[in-house]
Symmetry: C2
């Protein structure tokens, strides 16, 4: 099909919405290492996880053989309110750059949560409801995941308790109010509601909280409250599974127009959007059917892939969750206070970690100010105001498109635009006012973070 025929936005029809999620582990030659019980250091069992997580989700978490999981009809019905998401041809950006490259981006921001997080939130809420639970607990930093889970819980009539890092609760009241609109209870963390919260408040009365502490509160609340379970928005394999709806739609849209991607780019925080986007392409690459350059983009301030270590580590600072083998900076690593809250996690999803270790994907880091410059350039021609996280992928997509301009190659570049930046205007303001800085951790800081890995 000629270029002229490709619309600005490729919308699949509702009937083309994927009917199954794809479990990349089934096709991996080297499987990701199993999760370990933090006390016994043995592979964790379904029984051990069942007090904290929903049963169906544990199955998805632990299953490395089933290639496809049916997406239940109620989840597909919910998806239909915001999916299939458009695959957008960046005609205006291409023209602005003067590149022969073709640039596409999969846009996941067209829903109230403002990001891809809703893809997994609705799945997790559904399975909780199916299991007859009353509610779910979770933590949220900047608030995207909390918003997504609030929306999903409202839809299925589940109670939703969100522990929001206190500093965000106070400084980002808008996200908090979005969650309340959907009926969630939002508690600033640390709180007096949990033992761990009370302990921390006693020790550090003036603390403004941390994600690690909020996780611990949410897990405690779930495990001690009848009919509640804890749910998580990234890092886990089940989340990557749900997010494969992104990649499956992307591939279907490209196939529809006989387009073949050469380079696939995604930002990498905990890894769920990246894993979801690349899954069906990685499948072809693993099977030798087609080669792709797959690029993970990290902030230089939190370089799990590029400067971390592939080792077993704690997933939370409270050290109560299972151990995962992953690229990590250490659960005690404290990234600089950048404006991409979604990319500040110390580790990386185990599937992606294994793929990276196997040389099946690349990783690069980018500087914060470069990311915002790319975001602004993108917004002015493509209209969409991107989230800082997503803009990491934009930056590298522009870089690759400019390389094509130099070499004259008409490569096809696909990147994930995971969300919108409407709630990130404080960061944009800093950028506009020239007050934004860059920070790369020193070698000493990296070493310090890695010094306390569990002995496995």
């Amino acid at each position: 099909m000629s270029n002229e025929k490709i619309p600005y936005k490729i919308y699949l029809s509702e009937s083309e919405l994927p009917k199954q999620w794809y479990n990349l582990r089934a096709d991996m030659v080297n499987k990701p290492a199993p999760l370990l019980n933090p006390e016994t250091l043995k592979p964790i069992t379904k029984e051990e996880l069942s007090g904290v997580f929903c049963d169906a989700l544990i199955d998805q978490e632990l299953d490395e053989n089933t290639a496809y999981f049916d997406i239940p009809t109620p989840i597909r019905d919910f998806y239909k309110m915001f999916r299939p998401a458009p695959l957008i041809r960046a005609y205006c950006l291409e023209e602005k750059l003067g590149t022969p490259a073709k640039i596409y981006y999969k846009f996941e921001g067209n829903n109230t949560s403002g990001s891809h997080k809703l893809n997994s939130a609705i799945a997790q809420a559904y399975y909780a409801k199916e299991q007859g639970l009353k509610g779910v607990t979770t933590e949220t930093g900047a608030g995207q995941w909390g918003t997504a889970l609030s929306m999903a819980s409202a839809y299925f009539g589940l109670d939703c308790k969100v522990y929001m890092v206190k500093v965000s609760y106070e400084q980002k009241p808008f996200r908090r109010e979005v969650m309340r609109t959907y009926g969630a209870t939002v508690t600033p963390s640390p709180s007096m509601e949990t033992e761990v919260g009370r302990k921390i408040l006693e020790k550090f009365p003036g603390t403004t909280g941390s994600l690690g502490c909020a996780i611990s509160e949410a897990v405690e609340k779930a495990s001690k409250t009848e009919g509640y379970r804890y749910v998580l928005g990234s890092v886990l394999n089940q989340v990557v599974l749900h997010q494969t709806v992104i990649g499956l739609e992307t591939k279907a849209a490209l196939d529809k127009y006989n387009e073949k991607a050469d380079i696939i780019i995604g930002c990498a925080g905990g890894g769920s959007n990246l894993g979801g986007l690349i899954a069906p392409f990685m499948r072809e690459k693993i099977k030798g059917e087609r080669d792709y350059r797959i690029i993970a983009v990290e902030p230089e301030s939190c370089p799990s892939f590029t400067r971390g270590k592939y080792a077993y580590d704690y997933c939370d600072t409270g050290m109560i969750c299972p151990l995962a083998k992953m690229y990590t900076l250490g659960s005690g690593f404290i990234p600089a206070a950048t404006h991409s809250g979604g990319l500040r996690y110390h580790g990386m999803n185990p599937i992606l970690s294994q793929l990276y270790d196997d040389g099946l994907m690349e990783a690069v880091t980018v500087k914060q100010t470069e990311v915002f410059a790319a975001a602004e350039e993108f917004a002015r021609v493509e209209g969409i105001l991107p989230a800082p996280e997503s803009s990491h992928a934009i930056k590298v997509a522009i870089d690759e498109a400019l390389k094509c301009k130099e070499t004259g190659e008409a490569k096809t570049i696909v990147f994930g635009l995971t969300g919108t930046g409407y709630f990130d205007m404080v960061a944009y303001e800093k950028f506009h006012d020239g007050k934004m800085t860059n920070y790369a951790p020193t070698d000493e800081e990296i070493e310090k973070g890695l010094a306390n890995l569990p002995k496995v």
Copy 2:
């Protein structure tokens, strides 16, 4: 076609994007009264308007005979980045209400400006560029129009100067930063940049500004700066013309599925979204081809249709713009400080005013707290967090659907969901905290506002 076949979201293809705007005046039996020169009180001429407005837009403003205007290709190309906008079947809301009614809403919030305003902003920016102008000036209150115009100006490389009511500039920094991201200059009004601004600041040093003052500054700046013109986001007939893309798409989507609307509902501020939505339906109604109930929804705090007078009035508090015959509360009417900034204008577009006076449409008022309750109910089942303005239409759509539940009638209800409420969370917070109030102006306040109508 059976109900089962109708998808959640009806997306027209890019090729089905309207190629022309529809000028409802061409088919009206009683034409709207002409704009008058405020000094001579005679119908205003193109020459008199040309120092302030762009030439092509003046033609569109004054033309009451040409039924269709071609949408220039560059505007259609821009439209393709966010249009055709989806017509959404509110399956979840219907189920929640238990109504036999079928509810559809046309969603205009899927773009960074967050509303339908972008439909006219891009047209106005295009014609300014076509005329070889350097830039445009405008005013903005809450910031939706300013954001839309900033995006449109960035796309065409026009300079964009926005006078933002000072209190909004300070209290709503996020909108301001969105505009700056798109390269606009945002000035708090009143400012020292204009004569009118300096005068007001001298007289009222501590003023936090008003929309009327910001309009006057923007008009002065445009008329005194070489290569600049003033543009406006609502009220004018040209804006209604551009917004007919909403109604044309809505009708095309319904026709595609053989659906016939019985009731069409839109919120009414200056009238541009309502006029755009109803235009093609009103055409059939005027021609006697089909009857529709068409309902304008106003806030009880600013009831132009329901308690105003159909008379010539000033469009701006500075009394420098042309006089328009419209339903008005008087240019000096000061509405209560409600949270629907887009519905606080004292008058109503002349086309809609004439149609209402001819009995071709109805108007109702709703209370602010009822509107937010409807907004929240809608958000929890349909996912989208609506703008307070749009939620006025939601409230009446729900009311009509519940009437159907009582009578058992399966009416088809279509309403305009003009935008998202992401920048309105302060209002939602008040609602959640039970601090939101209602206000209807007293008869004395209405009389006072109408006491100073111009003598025409």
